[in-house]
């Protein structure tokens, strides 16, 4: 099962093989969760959207015709699910007079008590990310640190570094793309 490609796993899942779809979920769970987190900005909302994404994918396995990659198919489902979630949140905030002021935008739920194996995986992953960020060029690394660690806006970074706003965005985009490539080269063994 581990040696099969995504498309082969989908074919097995369409043939009523629950383990095949389970393998798809295991391979793409974190990436889809990251995509949902990137779109929604909240960890709990991202978890719900990720859950809904895989449920929708399982229900629509028969519609997958192999014209696109599985990753793109899952990404599309996740994006649509996140857009639905955002529209629902917008309607809810209007109904309840904006009781959610966005102060919990970056809040995350308390991490459950993981097993030692999962804690070891998390520790290994953070070490990999640390090394990847450290390997970035200085001008790209400082933008990531300002944005993620200091939570500065693009305009504040532009004023601090005295560079144009468009340069800040392009630097951050390049930094994240390079970081993604470095992480792909050193994948963490998911337990």
């Amino acid at each position: 099962m581990l040696n099969l490609t995504d498309e082969e796993l989908v074919e097995k899942a369409v043939g009523s093989d629950p383990e095949a779809f389970g393998e798809i979920v295991r391979r793409w769970e974190r990436k889809i969760f990251a995509l949902c987190f990137g779109m929604l900005g909240r960890e709990d909302d991202a978890r719900d959207a990720c859950q809904e994404t895989f449920i929708a994918a399982y229900r629509n396995l028969s519609r997958f015709r192999g014209e696109a990659k599985v990753s793109s198919w899952l990404h599309r489902i996740a994006v649509n699910q996140c857009l639905t979630t955002k529209r629902r949140q917008k309607t809810r905030s209007e109904d309840f007079l904006n009781d959610d002021d966005g102060s919990e935008e970056r809040a995350f739920v308390a991490a459950p008590h993981h097993s030692p194996a999962i804690r070891a995986e998390v520790s290994e992953r953070t070490a990999v990310v640390r090394q990847a960020v450290k390997a970035l060029p200085a001008d790209l690394r400082e933008v990531i640190v300002m944005k993620e660690f200091e939570e500065m806006t693009f305009q504040e970074i532009s004023d601090t570094l005295e560079i144009p706003l468009s340069t800040v965005k392009s630097r951050l985009y390049t930094a994240l793309k390079q970081l993604r490539m470095k992480l792909e080269r050193t994948p963490v063994e998911i337990l």
């Binding site: 974190r30 990436k31 889809i32 969760f33 990251a34 995509l35 949902c36 987190f37 990137g38 779109m39 900005g41 696109a68 990753s71 793109s72 990404h75 599309r76 996740a78 994006v79 649509n80 857009l83 935008e105 995350f108 998390v122 520790s123 992953r125 953070t126 990310v129 640390r130 990847a132 960020v133 990531i144 944005k147 993620e148 660690f149 806006t153 693009f154 468009s166 965005k169 392009s170 951050l172 985009y173 994240l176 793309k177 970081l179 993604r180 992480l183």
Partner: protein, 237 residues
């Protein structure tokens, strides 16, 4: 779903703006419509989102549990004397309002203390006060010849000479003053009452002239013209 090159996608640079929620509302809706239809942008967005989440997770695991360090800056200690502390505490900003308050309180206290010590005059017996009547101008000025004064008073032997005829100014309710005392010293034979005064300045002005013989009937003395008047010999004395 569209498939095109990254260079031709006009929304390539907006991925990070949308991801960090720093895109205008109009552009956000347009980008969402494009993202739902563009496979390249969707995959690109997923890749960037994963890199961002890994960074976020790294921060959450390693940095968020760290306690915020307490920054202690070793400022150089300055020795401040006691007088400097007092002066710093009692600056003009403090002293002026305090002094003004003290002055106002003292003034108000004095006013109340003074009012409390004054007797109630409505309860006391007050002696009547004699108020002098207002001064009146002389009701009339009469020029009385001395002979008439003498005839009226019957004191012909003490009548002064003609040139000393004075005008008596009678004033009512006029107290004796310096002018009356001066008149007594000047004319000791004339009795002056408290209600009489003599206007000395008008004596000479109204003195009878020599040619006027209005006292001819009373004057029995010998005249020079009578000695040479043969038709009318002087009376025998």
């Amino acid at each position: 779903m569209q498939k095109h090159e990254q260079k031709t996608c006009p929304f390539g640079d907006d991925i990070v703006s949308y991801m960090y929620d720093e895109m205008p509302t109009g552009g956000q809706l347009e980008f969402e419509r494009h993202l739902a239809a563009c496979e390249v942008c969707t995959d690109d967005f997923a890749a960037v989102s994963l890199a961002r989440f890994e960074t976020y997770d790294w921060k959450r695991v390693e940095f968020d549990p760290l306690a915020t360090p307490q920054i202690v800056i070793p400022y150089p200690q300055q020795t401040v004397t006691f007088g400097e502390r007092i002066w710093a505490w009692t600056s003009w900003v403090t002293v002026v309002p305090v002094l003004a308050t003290i002055m106002m309180a003292t003034t108000v206290g004095l006013i109340f203390w003074t009012n409390s010590r004054e007797p109630d005059i409505s309860q006391e017996q007050v002696d009547p006060v004699n108020v002098a009547p207002p001064l009146n101008k002389p009701a009339a000025v009469s020029v009385v010849p001395k002979a008439e004064v003498a005839s009226n008073s019957g004191e012909t032997d003490r009548i002064p000479r003609l040139e000393h005829v004075v005008r008596r100014v009678v004033t009512k309710n006029r107290p004796s003053g310096p002018k009356s005392q001066f008149a007594r010293r000047l004319y000791p034979n004339v009795r002056l009452g408290n209600d009489m005064a003599i206007n000395v300045t008008s004596d000479i002005k109204h003195a009878p002239r020599l040619g006027v013989r209005d006292d001819e009937e009373d004057d029995k003395s010998l005249r020079l013209a009578d000695l040479f008047d043969e038709t009318n010999p002087p009376p025998q004395r």
